[in-house]
Amino acid sequence: MIIRKHLVQVGVTVFAAVAVVLGTAAADAATAGPARPSGAHLAPSVRSAPACNPDASSIRPSGPPRVTSGSFMATIKARGYLIAGVDQSTYHFGFLNPLDNQIEGFDIDMVRAVADAIFGNTNPGNVHFKAISDQDRIQDVQNGTVDIVAHTMTITCDRLQKLDFSSVYFDAGQRVLVQKNSGISGLAALKGQRVCATSGSDSPAAIAKAGAVPVEVTYWTDCLVLLQQGDVQAISTDDSILDGLAAQDPFTEMVGDRLTHEPYGLAIAKQHPEFVQFVNAVLEQLRADGQWADSYRRWIGSDVPPPPAAQYGS
């Protein structure tokens, strides 16, 4: 009974969202003209700032990581801990382990490596984690609430206007998670069906673009609840996130090809270019000494690809 009430609420929201998205899509189609190849799936951000390359936008490090005096790293070191904005509900990237109330995951490994490099020790207390939602990521970095964000965050040209990112530390792409044996082959097969994503992520727009009905929730795990309860037919977002959801429910599977390219970066405020360089130097080390591969093996899978090659814009 209550689910029905809930559905009505969601339905209204979805209807409004679809209306907005359809309107935007129509406007896009009108301005794009006949030159655009039909069926091309481009990340929305790529369209809005064509002059940038998210994969090669970061600042080249000037050597191994060093805490120079007067730098932001020195400020953090003086404080005694790094403050990192992280996810706490994305299995295998950033999640709260209920057994010990500690936040763990691939993103967390990256942040710990940065903290260890600043403090020169592996004391777990050298990072304070602040769990933030998708929507708060940009403002929390901008206003200094957190020093760095490690939150399955895609580098986009939009976001590059507001923040700096490290070099790419993970390559993801949007796919679709469905119940096993559902017969659904991909997002294209979900026209008119309900597909879940979090608000504040890029995914609802991509879902609407494919003709499906986006259902927006706060956390990715909320999407899994809706899928398990049969409220939505699929979840569509980065395969890295879907992988973590599939690991919590063996009766789900990922289908279809990657629809987008989502390069992940660690987000840092624009005032601290020296910190961006420092973090990039740490990432270079992780790629080179096998720590990146270890983390991948621990959290994601035994079939470890080569780490994304570091490319810099300057």
């Binding site: 009974m1 209550i2 689910i3 009430k5 809930h6 801990y81 403050i83 706490q88 509900s89 994305t90 299995y91 999640f95 709260l96 382990n97 209920p98 057994l99 010990d100 109330n101 500690q102 304070h128 984690f129 602040k130 769990a131 933030i132 939602s133 708060d136 956390y219 795990t221 909320d222 899994l224 609840v225 959801l245 919590q248 429910d249």
Partner: protein, 482 residues
């Protein structure tokens, strides 16, 4: 002469007493034909037609018997209506609103306890688990009991002469709410169990199930429970208003006094006419009439006083304390859910602040209202005010600790530290206050109900005795004329 004519003549009370006087003086009046519609001139011309004393006696006899029986009917109906309204107060409305209130409390407590248990990780403490299970079964038992009682009371209201149509409208909506609660409770418990199982496996989706469950409880179940409470409270008020209402009772008592007056006048006329000092039958009827009027009025005054007292000192303060308790429980669930969400000061912390504002203390807050209510629980509620303020301070310290990055420390504080202790004190004080007020209500309401016990039967018996006594007294006089 028909009973209707007798009642008709009775209604023209002052006119009749004049005529009785005339009859007593002139010895010729025709009391038998005293239709009020008959003009005085006609009456006088008829009074020329001489009537014998036995005729008058016969007419008087019929009149008095009819009056006695009419008294029996009116007094018994009045007594029954007040007694059944009083027993509605005690047996139906109050238990139902009590059930609704306890369903609300059990559910809020389950919400808070499930969140606490979840917060303590995969290995939740046995005490929290037992408390949650107890809350759920208490809610289930209460929902079932309320459904059964609601069904019975809905059937009762279909009987003629019972409470108004307002009752059946409220009953329908209460029935719907109970059905919602019963269906949602299963879904809610299922989601909490899924959350628990996932949490035990270390899966983050557990927290999502808990959020979903808590959302269902807050958006649908608590709403339905409070709807029932509101409905039943308004029924309680109307049942109580009927039990304590004045108009019908005043009519009945005036009728009783009127009968006493007629009996006294008849007796005096008979004394003058027959030169006997006292007619035993009429005297007995008078005594019984006086006793029954005094009984009816006395029962009403006592019952009314007890019922009003029960409301003012019992259900009123209990409701105020219960509302405060529910706000406190919801704020406690918010405290845990904020930590489970682990995103700093989120929507749940926002809700905590709202609940805190409603709870008070402060002008027109729940706690301040509960302190002002004149129940027997004053000291307990005053203690709760201090507990609440200390809890707020402990909670603020906990939030500061969490926001400074010490999540694990904040979780420990919420589970076993000062915030947990202060909340337990607050909740215990409020629960005790509610119990004290409810006991006060129950004992007063029961005394109120007891005051009406046997009243209706008593009125019928009194009326029959009066009729018989009048018949006995006047037939003895009539016999002397044969």
């Amino acid at each position: 002469m028909s009973g209707r004519q007798a009642v008709g003549s009775m209604r023209g009370g002052s006119g009749m007493s004049e005529r009785t006087r005339a009859a007593a003086a002139g010895n010729t009046a025709t009391v038998a034909r005293t239709e009020t519609s008959v003009p005085r001139a006609v009456l006088r011309s008829r009074s020329r037609a001489e009537r014998s004393t036995p005729d008058k006696l016969r007419v008087l006899l019929a009149l008095l018997i009819a009056l006695s029986l009419a008294w029996g009917v009116v007094a018994a109906l009045t007594a029954d209506q007040h007694a059944s309204a009083a027993s509605d107060v005690v047996a139906v409305s109050e238990p139902l609103s009590l059930d609704a209130e306890q369903i609300y409390q059990s559910l809020s407590d389950a919400d808070a306890t499930a969140a606490s248990a979840f917060l303590s990780g995969g290995l939740e403490p046995a005490s929290l688990r037992q408390r949650y299970d107890a809350d759920i079964s208490a809610a289930a038992v209460r929902i079932e009991a309320a459904s059964a009682m609601e069904g019975a009371s809905a059937a009762r209201t279909k009987l003629p002469g019972h409470l108004s149509s307002q009752t059946s409208a409220a009953a329908t909506s209460t029935g719907d709410d109970l059905a919602t609660l019963s269906a949602d409770l299963t879904v809610y418990n299922g989601e909490v169990q899924t959350a628990r199982a996932d949490n035990r496996l270390g899966l983050p989706v557990g927290a999502a199930y808990l959020r979903e469950a808590s959302g269902l409880l807050r958006k649908s179940m608590l709403f339905a429970a409070s709807d029932i409470y509101t409905n039943e409270n308004s029924l309680l008020t109307s049942a109580s208003a009927q039990a304590t209402g004045l108009p019908l009772m005043i009519v009945a008592i005036l009728l009783g006094l009127g009968i006493c007056y007629v009996l006294i006048r008849t007796s005096r006329w008979l004394t003058r006419r027959t030169h006997r000092v006292v007619n035993g039958g009429l005297l007995l009827a008078l005594v019984v009439a006086v006793v029954s009027v005094v009984w009816l009025a006395g029962a009403f005054v006592i019952g009314r006083g007890e019922l009003l007292h029960a409301q003012q000192y019992g259900s009123g303060p209990a409701g105020a304390a219960a509302r405060a308790d529910v706000a406190a429980l919801q704020a406690h669930a918010d405290e845990s859910l904020t930590l489970i969400d682990n995103s700093g000061d989120d929507q749940y912390q926002g809700d905590f602040v709202n609940q805190q504002k409603q709870l008070g203390p402060g002008p027109s807050t729940l706690l301040t209202k509960a302190v002002a209510a004149p129940g027997p629980s004053g000291a307990l509620v005053s203690a709760a005010v201090t507990d609440a303020q200390q809890w707020y301070r402990a909670h603020a310290a906990l939030r500061a600790q969490d926001n400074a990055g010490d999540h694990a420390g904040a979780v420990n504080a919420a589970l076993t530290g000062q915030p947990a202790d202060q909340f337990t004190q607050l909740s215990t004080a409020l629960s005790n206050a509610i119990t004290a007020d409810q006991n006060a209500f129950a004992s007063n309401a029961r005394s109120g109900q007891d005051a009406f016990t046997g009243l209706a039967i008593g009125m019928i018996v009194a009326a029959l005795v009066m009729a018989a006594a009048c018949a006995w007294g006047l037939t003895r006089r009539l016999a002397e004329y044969r």
